[in-house]
């Protein structure tokens, strides 16, 4: 009897695996949006409801099938409507191990959490992620270095990441030189307590070097503004701030309750501006870090 039950279970399991997901495409031949799940309901022009390996993909309209935005989760429901002659998802509620990935030309934003909402607001795309939220802002670039007098170029990925309880990411649609639409991060508000990891670009007589920055705060606001895309991170509330050059020396900044970080397009920190509730409270302690990465003497 048990063997029979096992055979039935395996049969049903393999049938479930073999079954094709239900897939929606905004255009059968040249899709720019693909939505799929193992089970579900679609009323294009109205709404949708999906469960089991749900994926909502926005693909580059240039025809190279580059995924621009990918949302994955266990369950999703929302509106599927035509806006400006283009099918869009709106008011999407996602649950069950959600992951959100937005890729630009040289940068990407990844967010994961327990649940999320995706909405269209005043021409912007907004994602609210909740519960055990991890966000990573990655930037790919080519850096030229000199080795034995020869110029070498290496591809570098700079990562700035946070862990927190909830976050709101806002994206804006833009047009590139060839009038192709692409989506870019405009702001991220991360609510804590949060942990922040970043990279600081330090210039001295020996040249440029990168050092790690660690911070804890109650809130982080990341904004990209202006034509040139000025990037700024503001960390505020119960601020703890540490720098580590990776070879044995670091500093701890105390007394400040806010720090504003000015970033370059690779998300590397160029300038730091600390603020405290009253003047002369900010103090920096230089520390030696031993080989195991622990704080040593002052």
């Amino acid at each position: 009897m048990k063997r029979f039950q096992l055979v039935v279970f395996l049969g049903l399991f393999s049938l479930a695996l073999a079954q094709k997901p239900i897939v929606y495409k905004d255009n059968a031949k040249k899709p720019t949006m693909i939505i799929q799940g193992n089970q579900g309901f679609f009323a294009p022009g109205e709404n949708f409801e999906l469960s089991g390996n749900v994926q909502i993909k926005r693909i580059s309209a240039s025809g190279d099938l580059t995924v621009e935005t990918l949302m994955t989760c266990a369950k999703a429901s929302g509106n599927l409507v035509r806006i400006n002659n283009k099918m869009e998802v709106d008011k999407v509620r996602m649950t069950g191990g959600i992951q959100f990935v937005q890729k630009g030309e040289n940068r990407s934003t990844t967010a994961s959490g327990d649940s999320a909402e995706y909405d269209l607001k005043d021409g912007l795309k907004e994602v609210n992620v909740n519960g055990g939220v991890e966000i990573s802002f990655d930037s790919q670039s080519t850096r030229e270095t000199k080795k034995d007098g020869k110029k070498e170029s290496a591809k570098i990925t700079s990562t700035m990441n946070t862990t927190s309880r909830s976050a709101t990411l806002t994206f804006k649609s833009k047009l590139d030189d060839k009038k192709r639409e692409f989506t870019e991060l405009q702001s991220a508000v991360v609510r804590g307590p949060i942990q922040f990891n970043g990279t600081q670009l330090v210039k001295d007589a020996a040249g440029e070097k990168l050092q790690k920055v660690f911070a804890k705060a109650d809130k982080m606001t990341f904004t990209i503004s202006g034509e040139s895309g000025n990037r700024e991170v503001k960390l505020e509330g119960n601020l703890e701030f540490k720098q580590n050059d990776g070879i044995g020396e670091g500093s701890i900044v105390e007394g400040a309750n806010t720090v504003v970080l000015q970033l370059n397009e690779k998300n590397e920190i160029l300038k730091l501006r600390f603020k405290s509730e009253s003047p002369n409270q900010v103090a920096t302690t230089i520390t030696k870090i031993n080989s195991k990465g622990k704080k040593g003497g002052a």
């Binding site: 997901p21 239900i22 929606y24 495409k25 059968a28 309901f41």
Partner: protein, 184 residues
């Protein structure tokens, strides 16, 4: 058809109204035995009548489907018509309004259970939407198509499939992986 759920107070009467086959052979033996009829081109409306006792025995009409065929083998069992039809075309109804239009190589109608099954060369159309599949069943009671085998639907707001099984509304504007989504 939603109001027809108070079953104890309803009496149903089903009919294949306006049947106009042109019989070529007939082989009746006994009155209670099925009557098989091979016919040439013809058409039929499948209609259901509902009588509500609470509404002073008012009778309502529900159109289920309309079908035209080039040739058919029809069977009459206890006065209810069933059969196989070839090169068919017709309409299904949603709330008594013609909604989806269908074309197929073969059709099987079982009027005893209000089912119309299409097979081969299937095309279901509604407005600018078109659905193709290897087999399509019209579930008249739910006003839903059950399509199976390489199901693909394309309309002005996008496409669905190919998928193994798909349930679609008569107007092809709502689709689901299970009939339960239409029962909500």
């Amino acid at each position: 058809m939603g109001c027809g759920k108070a079953k104890p107070e309803i009496t149903k009467e089903k009919s294949g109204a306006n049947v106009s086959p042109s019989p070529t052979t007939e082989a009746p033996k006994k009155k209670q035995e099925p009557i098989a009829v091979a016919v040439g081109p013809g058409k039929s409306n499948r209609v259901e009548f509902w009588t509500y006792q609470k509404l002073w025995f008012t009778t309502f009409r529900a159109d289920l489907w309309f079908i035209e065929w080039q040739s058919a083998n029809l069977a009459l069992i206890n006065g209810k018509q069933s059969g196989f039809m070839f090169k068919v075309h017709g309409n299904v109804f949603e709330r008594n309004e013609p909604a989806g239009e269908f074309f197929a190589d073969h059709a099987e109608a079982d009027m005893a259970v209000d089912r119309l099954i299409l097979d081969g060369g299937i095309k279901i159309k509604s407005g600018k939407s078109v659905m193709t599949a290897k087999k399509v069943e019209w579930l008249a009671g739910n006003e839903v198509f059950k399509a199976s085998g390489e199901v693909f639907l394309e309309g002005p707001d996008g496409s669905i499939g190919p998928v193994d099984v798909l349930f679609a509304s008569a107007k092809l504007n709502k689709v689901a992986s299970s009939l339960n989504y239409f029962k909500k």
